[in-house]
């Protein structure tokens, strides 16, 4: 790697962070949704959303 290694590293790091944020947001969202659904009484199943 030449003297531009910092830019290359920064580009890959930013990409990793953005993808991680997108994935993390989805996972956290999923956890809170399934928890909220589990609390509700089981009704209206089977007809889809």
């Amino acid at each position: 790697m030449s003297d531009h290694a910092g830019y290359i590293f920064a580009a890959f790091a930013v990409t990793a962070v953005v993808v991680a944020v997108m994935l993390g947001r989805i996972l956290l969202d999923h956890r809170s949704l399934t928890r909220a659904l589990a609390k509700l009484p089981p009704r209206g199943e089977g007809d889809g959303a």
């Binding site: 531009h4 930013v14 959303a49």
Partner: protein, 252 residues
């Protein structure tokens, strides 16, 4: 076809498929990263910085792919009024914005050593910036309208307006700034890029697309669950109201 479009069936199907898709995405991206750093040569003009291209170009491709997915889902919303299309639209918007952001930042990080500045008002960069703004507008629209069905139809209309407009914006920005290098991967008469650089790029593009599909499917699952939660809590609130009615009347 209708069977696949049933949300409950969709949840079961994606639960079975997602681990395999994640595996495929991980393997492809791993191979792509290996090729990016070990196989692909440094460019004779741009040196090592050309390695940024292997994430910049797939991100640019996904920024347009996500918009295509949103367009098809918008048609599903407006023509068939299908809840799965609504969920797909809503799930794709933040992902599209994310990959467009990656495209802009990596382009800037590539531009600094190559052009000497963080940002040039080059036609392609500027078009991508406008696309990013359109994504942000769509996300703002989704967040502002509370009722999911209304929000889906409004977002669908705005997405379709964008489809008509994006080529015009692209054309006008090109006209505004004709001083930029021609697109080199999809050039007429075959790619101009050397095979040792093309293969890592294609593998990375495939891996990034698989990643997008995984994230998109997971986000659609969330939106289905959110709509189900919304409906069930209404039902629960209604049931609670009925349960409370007799004592209230007895007290009155």
């Amino acid at each position: 076809m209708l069977k696949y479009a049933n949300p409950t069936y969709f949840l079961r199907l994606t639960a079975a498929v997602l681990p395999w898709l994640w595996g495929a995405a991980g393997l492809t991206l791993g191979l792509g990263l290996y090729m990016t750093f070990a196989v692909a040569p440094a460019d004779y003009q741009q040196g090592e910085t050309v390695r940024i291209m292997y994430i910049h170009v797939p991100a640019a491709w996904l920024s347009m792919f996500a918009y295509t997915v949103m367009t098809l889902s918008a048609l599903g919303t407006l023509v068939w009024r299908h809840p799965l299309a609504d969920a797909s639209q809503q799930a794709a918007a933040p992902l599209g914005a994310g990959f467009t952001f990656i495209c802009l930042v990596t382009g800037s990080l590539w531009g600094k050593p190559m052009w000497g500045t963080w940002w040039v008002w080059d036609a392609r960069l500027t078009s991508v910036l406008v696309l990013f703004l359109i994504y942000l507008g769509l996300i703002a629209l989704w967040n502002t309208i509370e009722e999911p069905l209304k929000a889906a139809r409004a977002a669908a209309i705005l997405t379709l307006v964008g489809v008509v407009n994006i080529p015009i914006i692209k054309f006008s920005v090109d006209w505004w700034n004709t001083l930029h290098q021609p697109a080199s991967v999809l050039r007429m008469g075959g790619p101009a890029i050397h095979p040792t650089m093309l293969w890592p790029l294609l593998v990375m593009a495939l891996g990034a697309s698989l990643l997008f599909v995984c994230l998109h499917l997971m986000a659609i699952r969330n939106e289905i669950l959110r709509r189900r939660l919304r409906r069930l809590s209404y039902l629960a609130a209604e049931a609670a109201d009925h349960g409370l009615e007799p004592p209230v009347e007895a007290g009155a």
